[in-house]
Structure formats: C-alpha cells, structure tokens
C-alpha cells in the first residue's frame, strides 16, 4: 500500500517535471527577452535617458514623467479617454459582427468555399504597411478618381436626414460611425471570424439533431447550444480584439507614444506606455473575470 502511494507521488512529480520541460523554452525566452527589456523600459520611465557611444546613460529623476502625463500633458489623457471608450464599443461590434459572419458562412450552401476564401483575404493582407497605405489612401477620401467609389463607405447625406427625422444625435452619430467604419470592421475581424468558424464547426452535429427532435427553434438552438459551446473561442476573441485595438498602428495613443520614441525621448515615451499598459491590463483583467465564469468547457 505504502509503495503504491509513493509510486503515485513519483508519477505526479515526473509529470510535473515533464510539464516544466515543455514550458522551459518559454520561461527562458520570457526572462531573457521580455522581462529584461521590460525592466529596462521601466528604468527609462523614471530616469533621464541620454544616448552615448557606450550605450544608454540613465539618471534617476523619479516620477516626474508620470506627473507630467496626467497634469501637464494636454493631449495624453484626452487621447487615452477617447481610445478606451471607443475601444469598448468597437470590440462589441467586431465580436458580434464576426460571430454573425461565422454563423452565416459555417452553413452548407453553394459557393461557400469561394466566400470563405474571400473572407480570409483581409487576414492575409490586412496587417502591416499594406493596411496603413490603404488607410491613408482608400479611407481618407482618396485623391484619385476612386473618390466616387469610396463614397460607398460614407454616410454624408444620411445623418442629416436621420437628424431631421427627429432621432437622437448620439444615436445617429453612433450608427453612421459604424457604417463609416465598415471597411475597418470587415478588415479587422478576419481572424475573429476564422476562430469563431473553427469553433462552430467543432460543435458536434448530434447536438443539433437532438435539439431538432426536441422541437427547438433555430433561435433557441443558437442560444442554448451554439453560443455556449463557442464561449471558449469567444474569450480568446475578446482578449485578442481588445489587444489588437489597443496596439493597432492607427491607435492615437500608440502613435503619440511612438512619436516620443522617434524623437529619442525614450523616458517620457516609456512612462506613457506604462500608464497605457496598466489601463489595458485592468480592462482585460475585468473582462476576462466576467466572461471566464460563463465559459463552457466540454472536456474536463
């Protein structure tokens, strides 16, 4: 009996050792290539940085930069507030849109391979320089004769029409904002659609069959079967969408921070990015805590 117990302990210990071996490359990389630069950037934020031929020279100055960011920087808190509030609505829209698109293209219909291919295209080219060139060109009312075509994604006449109809101003601007951003929306939800799609396709068909036999409507099936089973993907998508929105090149705060880095003002840019990341972390932590309770894992 005693020997059996010891063997069990051993096995468990061996398993945990094996687990650590699997994770080890990440631990090395994390300490060497993440924590170390992160600590340096933290040091930059509380010091004066000077570049010399020998490397960076740091002079401790305390929390001057943080104080400056909140109390004497005209733009930072304004950008910060704008991006955070815009982010929340944007994330909800992107998630709802991508779930809807995934549900539509997950069904069986003619030409679905073609349509799936089309929807993956933004994932292929929707990052990096190409997107920023497009952003500068297609979206900002291009100078070339494509102007008429790009009017498609603008609601110049409609908002005044809706306002004359007596609708609330905030409501109208929100609605037209979504329509104006539809290009961004489709190009930013490529990965999310894909992840949802793989989640939807992994739901076992027998569940749907039994629901059909029980006489469930399609609406009920969606909320009682499909939605709970894609919640693991949903939480991944929520985290990804929030991060993607916050670290995007078009994000004003991000640009503001990078501008200081480009002017070689590393210490102020480091301080600004620290404030920014703490806020992002808090938002993600709260969302994760709220959603994680409702996530349904089929295994375990």
């Amino acid at each position: 009996m005693a020997s059996k117990n010891r063997r069990g302990m051993n096995l468990e210990r061996r398993r945990s050792l094996a687990g650590i071996m699997f994770v080890l490359p990440w631990i090395i990389g994390f300490v060497g290539m993440f924590i170390r630069p992160l600590v340096s950037s933290m040091l930059y934020s509380v010091s004066n940085t000077k570049i010399s031929p020998r490397g960076m020279i740091l002079e401790y100055i305390g929390f001057v930069n943080f104080h400056k960011a909140f109390f004497s920087d005209l733009y930072y808190s304004q950008y910060l507030f704008g991006e955070v509030s815009g982010m929340v609505s944007n994330a909800v829209i992107i998630l709802a849109f991508s779930l809807m698109m995934a549900v539509i293209i997950s069904g069986e219909f003619k030409g679905r391979t073609l349509i799936r291919t089309v929807f993956f295209l933004p994932v292929i080219c929707g990052s990096g320089v190409v997107l920023s060139i497009l952003n500068g060109d297609v979206m900002s009312n291009s100078i070339i004769s494509g102007e008429r075509a790009s009017m498609l994604f603008q609601t110049k006449g409609i908002d005044s029409l809706l306002l004359n109809m007596g609708l609330n101003y905030d409501l109208v601007t929100t609605l037209t904002g979504i329509v104006d951003g539809i290009f961004n929306l489709t190009w930013k939800s490529g990965l999310q659609i894909l992840l949802f799609l793989s989640g939807l396709l992994s739901v076992s068909p027998s569940l749907y069959e039994s629901a059909k036999i029980e006489g469930a409507t399609r609406w009920e099936v969606f909320w009682k079967i499909t939605f709970p089973l894609v919640t693991p993907i949903l939480i991944l998508n929520v985290v990804y969408t929030i991060i993607d929105g916050f670290t995007d090149y078009s994000n004003k705060v991000m640009r503001y921070i990078l501008n200081f880095a480009r002017e070689l003002n590393f210490s102020y840019s480091a301080a600004l990015s620290w404030i920014y990341f703490i806020i992002i972390m808090a938002i993600i932590g709260i969302t994760y805590a709220i959603i994680n309770k409702r996530v349904v894992y089929t295994v375990e």
Partner: protein, 332 residues
C-alpha cells in the same frame, strides 16, 4: 423547388390547406436564401474593394490618374508602374530573402508554441496559473514598447547572461552583435517570444485542452514517453491547429515592418522595402517621382507585388486550410 410539391398535390397526397402552407414556408426559405446571398455578395464587395482599387490604380497611366471619369477600368493599360517598382526594390532578391526569413521564423515560432501550449494544457506544475497569466501579459504588451531595450540587448548579446561568465577568463563579458543577422528574428521565435507567440500558445493550449485524454492514456499504456506521445499522438492530431497557426505566423512575419526595420540596416524584406519605397524611387533618380498621383499608383503596384506571393500561397493552400478548419470538428 416547387415542382415536387405540385406533383404531390396532383397525386392527391396533399390537400389545399397543406399545399398553401408548404408553398408559404418554401417561399420564405427561398426569400431568406436570396437575402443571404445578396448580403454575402455585398460583404464580399466590401472586403474585396481595396484589392480591386489597388489593382485598378496600379494599372493606370498618368493621364488616367488625372482623369476623373476613369473610375474602375483604366483607359490606357500599362505595366510601367510595376516595372519601376520591380527595379526599385530589387524584387527577386528581396523576395528570396523575405521567403527565407519568414519560413524559418514561422517554423521555429509555431513548433515552439505548440510544445509550450501542450505543456500548459496537460501538465500540472507549480506556478502554472501564474506563468500562464504571464503568457497573456506578454501578448498584451506590444513589441514596440520593449523594442528599443531589445535593440540595445542584441547589439551586445550575452546569451541570456551566460556570456557574463567570460568575465572570469578575459575580464570582458562575451558578447556578439546580432543586429543585421537573421537571429534577431529567429532567436525570439525559438524561445516563444516571436511575433504574437503568446496568442499561438493560447490557441494551442485551448486546442490541446479540448482533445480527449484517452488518446494519451493509450499511448502511455503502450509505453510511450511524454515527448514521444506529444509528437506521435498529439501533434499529429493537432494538424488543423498547426495549419491555422502556420498561416497566421507566416503572414505576420511577412507583413512585419517594425521589427525588421529596426534590426536590419537595409530594406531586406518586402515590407520594409514597401515602407521606404519613396526614398528608393528617389535614389534611382526618377525625376517624375514628384508627381503625387504617380507615386500613389506606384505605391499600389508595390502593395500588390508585396501581397501577391501571400495570395498565391493562400490560394494554393486554401483547400487544406478550409479542410483543416472543417476537420477540427472531428477532433473537438
């Protein structure tokens, strides 16, 4: 669609109330289908619009660029923009370099992330929750914020502190300059710190968690070691996850501008070449670079040239890719 119903009516299988009900539901289904296709067509247009725009603009001559009546189809077709860009960015050489960098980084990145993700999914060890929280944390911190300290670190790379041992022998830490070598991209990928590695670790962890434990148990009973079980059983069954991750990683390395612009002096990849295209055209001594419209057209041509290999690759792999998504159903 209705012929079957009508036939059944003539055979006397249905009465009038039944047939009107049937026709109503069938018409509803048909209308829904049509609406769905219209919606999908519109969405496809929105998605494809920028691509069509790029192709259309890049094929125009200068007069066409100024002509407001030309909307989609150019009046005078030309490939001059492409030729110019091809020369300016030395396309073939840059393409080969990009393929080399991207392929190796992707391979290292995805294989390491799969191993790490498996470790997080299936084993219990101390501080696992904390470590996984740190993985999430590493996704959240954008690479830009640690890029400058990393740059300094690669300039005098000491093998994660191991080089400091060199002090004992020579009095100086043993360091090498990694800047301008592909290792600036390979090394982080090898240790799970590549482009969005955290996300891949997360995806693999979710995927492995969803796989039935019986598979592994059977392998253990047959006497397979932990690592062999991973390679032979889990990795083989995780091919769908691998295909998606490889595709994403490849695309992100391909499109990466920030890191390769920082670590390499020259425009070594297509994305960095695209970013500095205007300077390159200028250095070629093209005196008409001043024409803003022509620059726009050339930029679009360069965009097409940059993403064309990706699109070709995707179209070639498209079947496997879609199937891999479909196949996740069998596993999960």
């Amino acid at each position: 669609m209705f012929s079957k119903t009508v036939k059944r009516y003539h055979l006397g299988l249905l009465d009038k109330v039944q047939i009107s009900k049937l026709i109503l539901t069938k018409t509803g289904a048909l209308a829904g289908k049509i609406l769905k296709y219209i919606f999908l067509f519109c969405m496809c247009f929105v998605v494809l619009y920028p691509l069509i725009y790029m192709i259309s603009v890049s094929l125009r001559t200068v007069p066409d660029l100024y002509d407001p009546t030309v909307i989609w189809v150019p009046r005078h077709w030309t490939l001059d923009n492409y030729k110019m860009v091809w020369q300016a960015i030395n396309y073939l050489k840059t393409l080969v370099q990009t393929v080399f960098l991207t392929t190796f980084s992707t391979f290292l990145n995805v294989s390491t992330c799969a191993i790490i993700g498996y470790g997080f999914a299936r084993f219990r060890f101390r501080f696992k929750g904390l470590l996984f929280g740190l993985v999430i944390f590493s996704i959240i911190v954008p690479s830009q914020s640690i890029a400058i300290p990393l740059f300094v670190q690669y300039y005098a790379f000491d093998f994660f502190g191991l080089g400091q041992i060199g002090r004992l022998f020579t009095g100086e830490p043993l360091t090498i300059n990694l800047l301008n070598t592909p290792f600036t991209l390979f090394l982080p990928a090898m240790f799970g710190q590549g482009i969005r590695s955290g996300l891949f670790i997360y995806i693999f962890r979710q995927f492995f968690r969803g796989m039935p434990r019986e598979l592994e148990d059977a392998a253990y009973i047959d006497g397979c070691g932990v690592f062999r079980t991973f390679i032979r059983i889990m990795a083989v069954n995780a091919i769908p996850a691998f295909i998606s991750c490889i595709l994403f990683s490849f695309v992100w390395y391909w499109n990466d501008y920030y890191l390769s612009n920082l670590y390499f002096n020259d425009a070594r990849t297509l994305s960095t070449a695209l970013g500095s295209l205007q300077d390159m055209l200028r250095s070629m001594g093209m005196d008409f670079y001043t024409d803003p419209y022509l620059i726009v057209a050339q930029m679009q041509a360069a965009c097409i040239l940059t993403i064309l290999p990706l699109i070709i690759l995707f179209i070639v792999l498209q079947r496997q890719f879609t199937q891999s998504i479909d196949k996740t159903g069998i596993v999960g």
